[in-house]
Subunit: 216 residues, 2 copies
């Protein structure tokens, strides 16, 4: 669910049916991704599993999109962020995060990072922390009506982020012309593990709607 | 290949055989991840593919590691970064990057990011750019004999990073006591898309070996 685009569900009538088809596929693939790093079966079993995956691949590649999901849905004038590597219900790379926002523009998400997200032993990869915080910073500026692409992203790592259940929070800190500053943090069982700040630049279409001048 | 730990291959007999077993599994799973976002087959075919994946999952979960790969190999006194989400040969989340270093400590990698890494339409997710640059910054400080955990990471996005063939480069900029500053950049067909700087803190064991005092 991307709560900063609430208008999409209404304008996308087949979405619920499509989600019911593709979500369980991605969920099975997420289990597979986890087992690729966590399984300890013998070589014969690995080869048999590989053959099963190749059968699935042969089925799915019978019809391939001409464009990525992002390009295709953008062209159709609507947006299904189902391919997104953090929140995408169709993307097995995504944990996926379900992001909630409140009317003030604060966003939050509780999620789980398993073994496939490991960097240092037992800890979430620092770059994965960056990926997740970048995503929810984007939700915060979107929720505040100031969507944009990341211009600058700064992360301060306070301690390792343990694998397991985690929480991410973000909010808009301030805005000035076409720039919006948002802050985020990752929270583990022992408290805040990483603090982030992002500077987002309003895209031209939004600048024009808000009557803001061009430039930085 | 993690060239900043060249001693591992020699001390890890069986690695080549294990890699020959698990690498093709992960490669098949990477194709599957891509198709989860790029396939456009009908619902019946999706359900059949899901059943194939569930068969693979049932095989692989027959024996599950008690610990993550990072924890297990750390305990065994050797390191196989095969679970790493950027370079891990067993991790379907990883493109994976193959990172090369030269004797001066410069590191570089040419790799491919497909549809599963998409953020804005047609572009690599900015957080994915951060994940990849964080990883190769770590290789740079490791290659220079100053390994460490990321303390601070700053990314400046110059333009969107198009999906497709990309290059990442990193090098050590300077060092002072327990801190090492490294820089990295992402390069697409039109040039540099993102510049990064990371500050890495030497772990205690390395400080003691180098005779450096504690603290920052």
């Amino acid at each position: 669910m991307t709560v900063h685009f609430p208008e999409d569900a209404a304008s996308d009538p087949g979405a619920a049916e499509d989600a019911a088809t593709w979500r369980p596929l991605a969920e099975a693939a997420r289990e597979l991704v986890d087992l690729c790093v966590m399984s300890d079966v013998d070589a014969e079993e690995v080869r048999a599993a590989q053959a099963d995956i190749e059968a699935a691949v042969a089925r799915l590649r019978k019809v391939r999109r001409a464009q990525t999901m992002g390009m295709e849905y953008l062209a159709a004038g609507r947006r299904r962020p189902w391919g997104n590597p953090v929140i995408g219900l169709r993307n097995p790379i995504a944990p996926p995060l379900v992001v909630h926002s409140d009317p003030s523009g604060r966003v939050e998400s509780d999620f789980h990072c398993g073994a496939a997200y490991e960097g240092p032993p037992g800890l979430v990869h620092g770059g994965m922390v960056a990926l997740i915080l970048d995503q929810i910073l984007g939700h915060a500026v979107g929720a505040a009506g100031r969507p944009g692409m990341t211009g600058t992203l700064t992360l301060v790592y306070r301690r390792g982020t343990p694998l397991g259940d985690l929480r991410a929070e973000a909010w808009v800190d301030r805005e000035d012309g076409v720039k919006t500053w948002a802050k985020a943090r990752m929270i583990g069982p022992q408290g805040v593990t990483c603090e982030a700040e992002g500077v987002f630049i309003l895209p031209r279409a939004v600048r024009e709607r808000l009557g803001l001048p061009d430039g930085n």
